[in-house]
C-alpha cells in the first residue's frame, strides 16, 4: 500500500494559520491501514488543532468527513454538498497526496492542502512499523533476484550487487538497513539458483519509471 505519515504539527499549523473554517477529510484506503489519515486520525488532528487555537484565544471550526477513497472521482463528488453549503476557507486532505490533487481538480476554486507526507509503497513489518518495498519502476523483474527488489531495497539500486560497503548483512548507509544484495544472495543460494547471479545483468530501461514522464494506464476493456 501507499504509506504516509502526518506532517509535523508545526507545518500544519502554519498552513491553517489564517483560516477560521476548514473541512478536514480522511480516507478509508491505504492511510487508514497505516494509521495516518483515517477517520480516527482525522478526529485526533481536529482536536489537536482546536487545542492549538483555543490556546491563542482564537477559534477554528473544523468539519470532519472521511471518504471511502480519495483517488476515485465518484467519492470526491461526495464533497460537493458540504463544500457548496459551507464557505470553507480551505479543505485539508489526510489522504495520500493523490487525494488533495483530486479535490483541487474537482473544486477548482477551493484552497486544498495536503496534511500527510506520502512516503513510499510498502508494507508492514509489525504493528506500527512500515518499510519500503517497491519503487514503481514499471517493469518488475524481482523474480530474477529471489523476489527481492534491488531497485528499491538497495540504496544504490544495483543490478549486480553487492557493492563493497556490504558488511555483516547490513547496508553501509545505515546499520539497521539490510543489504538487499546479501538477502538476494542468501535467497538465491537457498533456492539453488546461485548460477543466475553469475551473469552480468544489463542496463535497466527506465522509461517505464517516472523518468519517462508521468505515467498513465489505459484499459480500453474497462472504459464505459
Amino acid at each position: 500500500m501507499v504509506v504516509a505519515e502526518r506532517k509535523p504539527m508545526e507545518e500544519i499549523l502554519t498552513m491553517v494559520a489564517d483560516f477560521k473554517k476548514i473541512l478536514l477529510t480522511g480516507c478509508k484506503g491505504c492511510v487508514t491501514v497505516c494509521n495516518a489519515g483515517g477517520q480516527k486520525e482525522v478526529g485526533i488532528l481536529a482536536s489537536a488543532l482546536k487545542i492549538a487555537r483555543k490556546k491563542e484565544d482564537r477559534e477554528i471550526e473544523i468539519d470532519e468527513i472521511t471518504l471511502e477513497r480519495q483517488c476515485d472521482p465518484e467519492y470526491i463528488d461526495q464533497l460537493e454538498k458540504p463544500i457548496a453549503t459551507n464557505h470553507y476557507d480551505a479543505v485539508l486532505s489526510m489522504a495520500c497526496s493523490v487525494g488533495p490533487q483530486y479535490i483541487a481538480k474537482r473544486f477548482e476554486d477551493v484552497l486544498v492542502f495536503p496534511v500527510l507526507n506520502t512516503t513510499f509503497i510498502g508494507g508492514s513489518l509489525e504493528h506500527g512499523v512500515w518499510a519500503e518495498f517497491c519503487q514503481a519502476c514499471g517493469s518488475c523483474v524481482i523474480h530474477n533476484f529471489g523476489s527481492i527488489c534491488p531497485i528499491t531495497r538497495c540504496a544504490k539500486s544495483l543490478m549486480n550487487g553487492p557493492c563493497g560497503g556490504s558488511s555483516r548483512g547490513k547496508c553501509e548507509i545505515n546499520p539497521e538497513t539490510d543489504c538487499a544484495w546479501h538477502l538476494i544472495y542468501d535467497r538465491m543460494k537457498r533456492l539453488g539458483r546461485l548460477d543466475k547471479l553469475s551473469t552480468v545483468v544489463m542496463y535497466k530501461d527506465w522509461t517505464t519509471n517516472r523518468d519517462g514522464g508521468p505515467r498513465k494506464i489505459v484499459r480500453e476493456d474497462l472504459k464505459l
Binding site: 544495483l158 560497503g165 551473469t199
Partner: protein, 313 residues
C-alpha cells in the same frame, strides 16, 4: 594493447605494477594538484584520481587527469555511477579519451549520505558492472549503449575495484568473475589489513583462473597513526582492520607511529608479492603523498620500469 597506456605496458611486460592515488581539491586551485603530484612522479606507473570520493564535492576527476598529463604523469580516471546517468557517462568517456586519458576505473560510488551534499538526488542509472560493459563496448565495438557507431573510437584500459573483505565473502570471487566477464582489464582491491582473508580471496581468484584474465593490484594504505587505525576499524564500512595492527601501533611512541605504519605497509607488500596471481600494488596514501617514496622504495619496487616506445601500439 588495448589502450597502450603506461600501466598496461608495465603489466604486459610482466613487471609488478604500482599505482598511486590523489584526491582533488575542494576548490578550483590547480596548484594543489601540482604540489601533491610532485611526490608521486616517477614512483608509480599511474595515478588514480578520485571522483567526488565519499560524495564530497571536489574538482572533477577528468580535469585533474588532464593536469597530471600536462605534468607528464599518467592518470587513472575514476568514474562513479552515483552522479551521472548513462548519457553523461558516455559523453565524459568520449571527452576523457579526447584529452588523452587511457585508464578508466569503473566504480559504483559512495552513497551521498556520507558526503557534504546529502540532499542531492542520486542517479545510479547504471551500476559499476554495466559501466565496465559500456566502456568495453565503446572500445571494442566502437558503439554506444544504443548501438550508435562512434565517430572516433576511444581506447581505454578498463579498471574496476573489489572489496575482498565485504560480505557475503563467498560471493566476492564470483563477483570478480562477473566484472572480468563484463570487461575489466585490471582491478584494484580495497586496502588490505586482514592478510588471512586476502590470501584466501587471492587463492580462490587464482584457482578460478581469474588472475590470468585480469591484473589484480593489491590495495595498500599505510596507517598514519593508531587513531587512523581505530577510525578505519570502527567507522569505514567494508574495512577489516585486525586488532594486531592496533596493538602494534599502541606499543609505539606517537611520533614514531607513522614510521611504524610505513613499516607495516612494506611488510604487507613483501608478503603479498609471494601470492600467486598478484600483478601489482595500489598505494593509497591520501594526504600523505610525501611518504609514498619510502613505501615503494622500501618494498623494493623502485626504479619503476619504463616500457620502450616500441612495445605495443
Amino acid at each position: 594493447m588495448k589502450a597502450g597506456s603506461n600501466l598496461e605496458k608495465v603489466l604486459a611486460a610482466g613487471h609488478l605494477a604500482v599505482t598511486g592515488e590523489l584526491g582533488p581539491p575542494r576548490g578550483a586551485d590547480a596548484e594543489v594538484i601540482r604540489h601533491k603530484a610532485k611526490y608521486l612522479k616517477g614512483l608509480v606507473d599511474s595515478v588514480n584520481v578520485t571522483d567526488n570520493q565519499t560524495s564530497v564535492v571536489r574538482m572533477c576527476s577528468m580535469a585533474v587527469c588532464r593536469l597530471l598529463l600536462d605534468m607528464g604523469i599518467e592518470p587513472n580516471l575514476q568514474m562513479v555511477c552515483r552522479d551521472r546517468n548513462r548519457i553523461a557517462i558516455q559523453s565524459d568517456l568520449l571527452g576523457a579519451s579526447a584529452l588523452g586519458i587511457k585508464n578508466v576505473l569503473c566504480l559504483s560510488g559512495d552513497h551521498q549520505k556520507f558526503g557534504d551534499h546529502p540532499h542531492a538526488k542520486n542517479v545510479f542509472d547504471i551500476d559499476s558492472m554495466q559501466l565496465i560493459a559500456t566502456v568495453k563496448k565503446m572500445r571494442d565495438e566502437g558503439k554506444l549503449i544504443n548501438d550508435q557507431a562512434l565517430e572516433g573510437v576511444p581506447k581505454f584500459f578498463i579498471g574496476s575495484a573489489e572489496n575482498p573483505f565485504a560480505d557475503p565473502f563467498e560471493f566476492r570471487v564470483t563477483r570478480l568473475g562477473k566484472k572480468i566477464a563484463a570487461g575489466s582489464d585490471f582491478l584494484q582491491t580495497q586496502c588490505i589489513y586482514n592478510m588471512q582473508k586476502f590470501r584466501t580471496w587471492m587463492q580462490q581468484s587464482y584457482d578460478a583462473g581469474l588472475t590470468e584474465k585480469c591484473s589484480i593490484l593489491a590495495g595498500i594504505t599505510p596507517l598514519k597513526s593508531i587513531g587512523m587505525a581505530r577510525y578505519m576499524q570502527k567507522f569505514v564500512p567494508g574495512l577489516d582492520v585486525p586488532d594486531s595492527y592496533i596493538n602494534r601501533l599502541k606499543g609505539v611512541d606517537k611520533k614514531l607511529q607513522g614510521a611504524e605504519g610505513i613499516k607495516i605497509a612494506i611488510e604487507q607488500i613483501q608478503e603479498i608479492k609471494e601470492m600467486k596471481g598478484i600483478a601489482g600494488f595500489h598505494v593509497m596514501a591520501i594526504e600523505w603523498e610525501e611518504h609514498v617514496e619510502k613505501i615503494v622504495s622500501g618494498a623494493g619496487l623502485l626504479p619503476r620500469p619504463v616500457p620502450s616506445a616500441e612495445q605495443g601500439s
